[in-house]
């Protein structure tokens, strides 16, 4: 008797629904064990989390605040990953997008009167993200430089550059030594819809739908699909593989850059510490959990944001150690990620076949 994992021949719809539910149940049980060890009532804790993240208008708004950048960077990462371009530079692209948006909003007001300043700032962020992502894309397609390292290292460059700016030349002279630029004109502020949550949520959802349409319904999307599945096949079909990879990765960077621009124009209204707090890395989890499907990204982003906000609530309401929230997030993600194995594979128990005896003796 032996146990094997066999790749599923087709996507099983029941598995697609059941596996996440079961995984989630396993998460809850595991977390409950942990909570019990710390003497907290698991049910109360879960209730506190749910209420904290979704039950109050303040909590829900904060969940959205976190969901917007996760959504944007998640979409960006998903696009690049579909091409098997491992862009783990979303954090840097987001940071530089924020820097560019702040730069435009702070220093180019006289060129962009009135509300046009906001659009200029957003466009600046988008462009910065695209160009920043374009560098590893060009290095990869022309010199075959591994994109994982380049995108990762470029994050540090972008983050340190942003620090240099708000600790140095852009620092607000009236800021009492607080590291950050001055606040820019309200013309460049993104309208808010609820608490600190801004219209970026609508943009994110719209972009998810547009991206899905581009991928599924356009010639370019079809080409990207072929490239992602097999570059050799794409080349054989006459598709310009390198050019398309560069374009798609720049699109990925543009989405991340826009995420940064949203953070600056929608939340902080200045360039300051707290722009690069890891959204670009969580985006990788968002993209994977969405199975690189743009339509799933908003849901996953909101769920993960809720988990994070709810986790923070647990610390305050239940008086648990600060690290507990993070541990819980991890415990909940783990079974979810492990469970995805069962949507792609099925588990079989195989009984050994009896060996057939040789009926015909070899003729000598």
């Amino acid at each position: 008797m032996k146990f094997v994992f066999e790749k599923r021949k087709s996507t099983s719809v029941p598995a697609l629904i059941l596996v996440p539910l079961i995984s989630f149940a396993v998460s809850l049980v595991l977390t409950a064990l942990l909570l019990a060890i710390f003497g907290a009532d698991p049910f109360k804790t879960y209730a506190a989390m749910a209420v904290g993240a979704f039950g109050t208008s303040h909590g829900f708004a904060e969940t959205l605040v976190k969901a917007i950048p996760l959504m944007m960077t998640g979409l960006g990462v998903a696009i690049a990953f579909r091409l098997k371009f491992w862009n783990i530079g979303a954090e840097g692209q987001l940071t530089l997008g924020g820097v560019a948006a702040a730069g435009v909003a702070l220093f180019m007001e006289r060129y962009f009167p009135g509300r046009s300043l906001l659009f200029a700032a957003l466009f600046g962020g988008l462009l910065a993200g695209a160009l920043w992502a374009g560098i590893p894309a060009i290095l990869k397609t022309t010199l075959k430089v591994d994109e994982t390292l380049v995108t990762l290292m470029m994050n540090y460059i972008a983050i340190l550059y942003s620090e240099f700016l708000y600790y140095g030349p852009w620092r607000d002279p009236k800021g009492y030594g607080f590291p950050g630029s001055r606040m820019f004109s309200a013309n460049a502020w993104l309208p808010r819809i609820m608490g600190r949550a801004h219209v970026g949520i609508w943009v994110g959802i719209a972009l998810a739908i547009i991206l899905w349409l581009v991928l599924k319904r356009t010639r370019w999307g079809f080409e990207l699909q072929i490239i992602g599945a097999s570059q050799k096949a794409a080349r054989y079909q006459g598709i310009a593989v390198e050019r398309n990879i560069i374009l798609a990765v720049m699109l990925s960077g543009a989405l991340c850059g826009l995420a940064g621009a949203f953070e600056i124009t929608g939340i902080s209204h200045r360039l300051q510490q707290g722009l690069s707090i890891g959204y670009g890395y969580t985006a990788i989890i968002v993209a994977w959990m969405s199975q690189l499907n743009p339509l799933a990204v908003p849901f996953v982003a909101i769920a993960l944001a809720g988990l994070s906000v709810g986790g923070d609530q647990v610390q305050m309401v239940m008086g648990l150690p600060a690290a507990m929230g993070v541990v819980m997030q991890g415990l909940i993600l783990f079974p979810m990620l492990a469970g995805s194995l069962f949507t792609e594979y099925r588990f079989l128990v195989v009984k050994p076949e009896p060996r057939a005896a040789c009926p015909e003796p070899s003729q000598e």
Partner: protein, 509 residues
């Protein structure tokens, strides 16, 4: 067993089948001490399968192996190693980023947790000297030439006291000089009482290396002889086989204008060596030009140059009456050139995409499948349904991923798509390889239909019967050169076999 001497290896009644193929059919093999046995046969004749059984990679469905007269139960390469059997595979199993010494040490069972590098190195150096296998123990594998890497593989086996060495087409990757060095190494091993099985399909090497030769065809042993008692010509005939030709109806040959012309084309292979050497020929409308040759003699490179996937370093390519030298694949597709590639699963078709997507891959750029930048999914599915019916592609639905189709149906999918895109030239590389009889017939029939419809067809095959049956003319490719072009109805199969094995025209006369 009439032999008085106990053979070193005896394989009895080995059968091994893979889905759809009987790779070995009750094969018997014997190998004596200090003997080199050449295993000769066309691609797919079952040579590698048989040797993979011996070295423990495959379990035979039937049959037994005896080593030095006693039954050997070989379940894994590790078991085989215990019996002194070792194999040098076509693609080497070395760790590129490690040194020669480290590669030798990897997997050594008797070494302590921290290996005694000094002792291993000393023994390695001694062995290298003894067998003329010059190699620097400190060099990293990636720095070595292919020939040197092969030496490391052989040293690895010798270090593990292998008595029976299996060399799978060892000269395929070597320069002539390196081949001669290898011949010295094999000779030295023989002197030490070691035995070797040498897989090849080149006659000259059989003559140069072996004491005895065994010819496999379609999984069966068709001949066995002492090398000294046979001739290359005889071997060529045994390897290729003489079977009654099964005629396919086709219109009389009446070629039209030249649709494809290569003049003095040179091109490099993936390893940067010359893969096409001064290739020139013309292909006319309404003609099938068959390219005969053993795989790896420039076929893939030739097909890729014609379809724009590989740059030529010299010479000119004309399609229709336009110069298309080193134009992009898309520009060549736009000239109406279709291509059934050698590698179906990763180049010709995309396994993760649906049958419908695969069928649309050449025509998605324009009407009726697209409107502006948008695709029209309904029309794509309609086209797919029509092609699935016309070409009898067995698939549960147009949405099924191609990876779940059988090889024959994958090939029909590619064929259906490429025929739709072909207007001047069809390049078909081993289109019937590995297909069952029915699918093979479909493929051949369709190629002939294309020819009858006025296309030029460049048809690559390793099966001489098939080439003779389908082609109007046959060109023989050997080591990147065209050795000769014959009219199919007047061709001499033996002569073609000799040319395929690199014997020049003079030698065959």
């Amino acid at each position: 067993m009439s032999e008085t001497v106990i053979p070193k290896v005896e394989m009895r009644g080995i059968s091994k089948s893979f889905p759809g193929v009987l790779a070995n059919d009750c094969v018997d093999l014997m190998l004596h001490r200090s003997e080199v046995l050449a295993l000769l046969g066309e691609n797919g004749a079952g040579k590698s399968t048989l040797m993979n059984v011996l070295c423990g990679l495959y379990r035979p469905d039937k049959g037994e192996i005896y080593i030095n007269g006693s039954y050997a139960d070989i379940h894994s390469p590790r078991d085989a190693q215990k019996y002194g059997i070792g194999m040098v595979h076509q693609n080497f199993k070395l760790v590129d980023s490690m040194s020669v010494l480290e590669n030798i040490i990897l997997g050594l069972k008797d070494e302590p947790f921290i290996p005694d590098f000094k002792r291993v190195r000393q023994r390695l150096v001694d062995l290298a000297a003894q067998y003329h296998l010059k190699v620097d123990p400190n060099a990293n594998i990636w720095q070595l030439s292919v020939g040197e890497q092969q030496r490391v593989e052989i040293l690895k086996l010798l270090y593990r006291n292998a008595e029976i060495l299996i060399l799978d087409e060892p000269t395929a990757v070597l320069t002539p000089q390196e081949s001669h060095e290898l011949s010295r190494v094999v000779h030295a091993m023989k002197q030490e009482g070691k035995s070797a099985v040498f897989i090849t399909h080149k006659m000259e090497e059989v003559m140069e290396f072996s004491d005895r030769v065994m010819v496999l065809r379609k999984g069966k042993v068709v001949a066995e002889a002492r090398t000294a008692d046979t001739t290359p010509k005889e071997l060529a005939r045994m390897m290729v086989g003489r079977e009654v030709l099964f005629q396919i109806e086709k219109k009389p040959f009446c070629p039209g204008e030249v649709v494809l012309e290569l003049s003095n084309i040179d091109a490099l292979g993936d390893r940067g060596l010359l893969a096409l050497n001064n290739v020139s020929f013309q292909l006319r409308a309404g003609e099938i030009l068959g390219i005969a040759g053993v795989a790896g003699n420039g076929q893939r490179e030739l097909a890729e140059v014609v379809t724009g996937l590989r740059r030529s370093t010299k010479g000119a390519l004309r399609i229709g009456n336009k110069d298309m030298t080193n134009k992009s694949p898309l520009e060549i597709i736009r000239q109406g050139v279709a291509h059934i590639p050698q590698d179906r699963s990763s180049v010709g078709a995309v396994g993760d995409l649906s049958v419908a997507s695969n069928l649309a891959m050449k025509q998605y750029r324009s009407r009726p499948l697209a409107a502006g930048i948008f695709l029209l999914p309904k029309r794509i599915v309609d086209l797919a349904r029509a092609l699935i019916e016309k070409f009898h592609i067995a698939t549960p639905s147009p949405q099924t991923q191609v990876k779940f189709l059988s090889g024959g149906n994958v090939q029909k999918t590619i064929l259906a798509r490429e025929i739709g895109a072909a207007r001047t030239v069809m390049v078909a590389v081993y289109p019937s390889r590995g297909l069952d009889v029915g699918a093979t017939e479909t493929v051949r029939r369709q190629l002939i239909n294309q020819r009858d419809g006025g296309l030029g067809v460049l048809f690559f095959s390793e099966d001489l019967d098939e080439l003779l049956q389908v082609s109007d003319r046959i060109a023989v490719l050997f080591e990147g050169r065209i050795m000769g072009i014959f009219d199919a109805d007047k061709a001499d199969i033996e002569q073609i076999g000799m040319l395929m094995a690199g014997m020049s025209k003079e030698a065959t006369a």
